[in-house]
Point group: C2
Chain length 328, copies 2
């Protein structure tokens, strides 16, 4: 058998309504539906080559060969693809992000989405968008959202095997000219990653109330998004973000991801909006702040952010497309 190779590409995404906590950890079935936007230009590009000469999977991230421990989550994901394809061959995986890893920009989302697309194609599978989303979800929950294009909703579904837990596009990237100005306040690797954090979510006495209120928040946010109503959108997005961090900070042990400059950016975004500039914050499991605005205001917002103490860098992203194969 010859080497079978494919390259996949996927953008990261930022959730407006967040995913925090699983109803099934192994299958990464979330406790609530979520809503996100793909981030154009913040992407992972991954090549998978199934090679009969290999005696184990070899995983390189950013040119660095990973230890077997670090590779395990990728190998486990390749096992899912191999099981679907009836394949026994090990693979060489080369993956590159064009943004810093592990600091609140969802590298696992774009990473597992790109890996899924590449591995599926290299294994000879013809997977639908829905099948790709379900498969990507099992590698990293939020990766399910990096498969479809533009603005994306991910349903938790009701089936225990997860067959109805996938993401789909609710609007194309050109539906609304939003921009995500990502204020980097720390590029340090976080102490507790998302996978560990999801497992702690249920230990917060507030998590059940957050879950029960999630459909209200998601409906509000989706309606605002579809109507391009920034003010309504901003309130839903900030409330949802802070509600997730409330769960994190009241878990046992508590997870405090905010740093002093995180709070300074949050406060600035709220003040700017009160003064008429469309801007709102949302924060993933890390200290960096995504300040959402309209494209027409993106350069103004980015330069204001750069002027804030503690902001090291600002990345700007427009709504992005879905995951795809790259012909080489």
């Amino acid at each position: 058998m010859q080497i079978r190779k494919a390259t996949g590409f996927a953008n990261s995404n930022i959730a407006f309504i967040k995913y925090w906590g699983n109803r099934d950890h192994a299958l990464r079935l979330p406790v609530n539906d979520s809503l996100s936007m793909n981030l154009d230009g913040l992407h992972t590009r991954t090549t998978v080559a199934f090679d009969p000469s290999l005696t184990a999977d070899v995983v390189a991230l950013g040119g660095q060969i990973q230890s077997p421990e670090s590779s395990k989550r990728v190998s486990d994901h390749l096992d899912r693809v191999r099981a679907l394809a009836g394949l026994k061959t090990f693979a060489r995986v080369e993956s590159e992000n064009n943004f810093p890893t592990g600091a609140g920009i969802a590298s696992s989302a774009s990473g597992f989405a790109a890996l899924t697309v590449a591995a599926g194609a290299a294994a000879g599978l013809a997977l639908s968008e829905r099948e790709l989303s379900i498969l990507a979800r099992q590698g990293s929950g939020s990766a399910s959202r990096s498969i479809p294009s533009g603005f994306v909703e991910w349903k938790t579904g009701s089936n225990p095997d997860g067959r109805d837990s996938f993401a789909f596009s609710v609007a194309a990237p050109d539906h609304w000219a939003l921009a995500d100005c990502i204020a980097i306040v720390s590029s340090a690797h976080k102490e507790v990653g998302s996978t560990g954090g999801h497992a702690l979510a249920r230990t917060s006495p507030l998590q059940q109330a957050r879950i029960e209120d999630a459909p209200r928040r998601l409906n509000l946010c989706r309606e605002a998004l579809l109507a391009r109503d920034f003010e309504k959108f901003a309130e839903a997005v900030e409330e949802d973000s802070t509600m997730m961090h409330a769960i994190m900070m009241t878990s046992r042990p508590p997870l405090y991801y905010w740093l002093p400059p995180t709070l300074a950016v949050m406060d600035a975004a709220r003040k700017w909006r009160a003064n008429g500039l469309p801007a709102c914050f949302t924060i993933d499991a890390g200290p960096n702040v995504h300040v959402l605005t309209l494209a027409a205001h993106a350069s103004d917002v980015a330069s204001r952010l750069r002027a804030l103490p503690g902001v090291q860098n600002v990345l700007v992203a427009a709504p992005g497309g879905g995951a795809s194969l790259i012909n080489e």
Copy 2:
């Protein structure tokens, strides 16, 4: 009729298990029980003189005569005392705090406790500690806790008229040599005060869960306090504080009281404790941080706090006594 005059004294208090939200606003009946410590040396001293020659109440705070609008809450409280005493006479009120007002140190707690003691005595009422606590509560909820001595629990009770909602001492000031090191990061007056905040509490989708979990937190904290178990105490106190701020930040409109240095102090307290120094944070409706420690470590904690960026001043208080009359 001659002038009838008395002077009352009360310490402020810091809640370990917080009061946030009322079951009855007019009567200031809280949604959950709370637990606090009086703060020795952070006090209000108030003189009330019922004077037949006056045609309205005259209120001076820190030597400044207050406008009728600013005096209204004090006049309303004097009305309660006049109703109990069958008195029609207006009063001259002179009140002094020895700490900054309106910045997260509960000036309304010591203020209304001292006012209650002074006005009750000047009106010729012989009120029990329980009656004083019930009366003080109607001026400012947390004032009910500044009446008894030392470590104090305030019950919400069940009677709609509030007759069983009062505070009582659970331990004398010398039970445990705690110290409260108050890191002042801003002395600005807050935009939304506690009274307005309590009214917003029910708009948070998380408030009901916080209320339902409150007995667990209070029992944990009281047990730790009675057993002088600092580690267990610290976890309960920090969890309760952050849970209250989670409600504030998810109210509509949201209330963000934390400033960047607030977060820096919280993080420092947690790191110090992880490294063996007994220290934990708790934060009222404002940006200042109360860092609780043992008396033996108070000067170390205070000097570490002074070295943190954004900390303007540190006040240190031991467990304090209850409200009392001052003989002049």
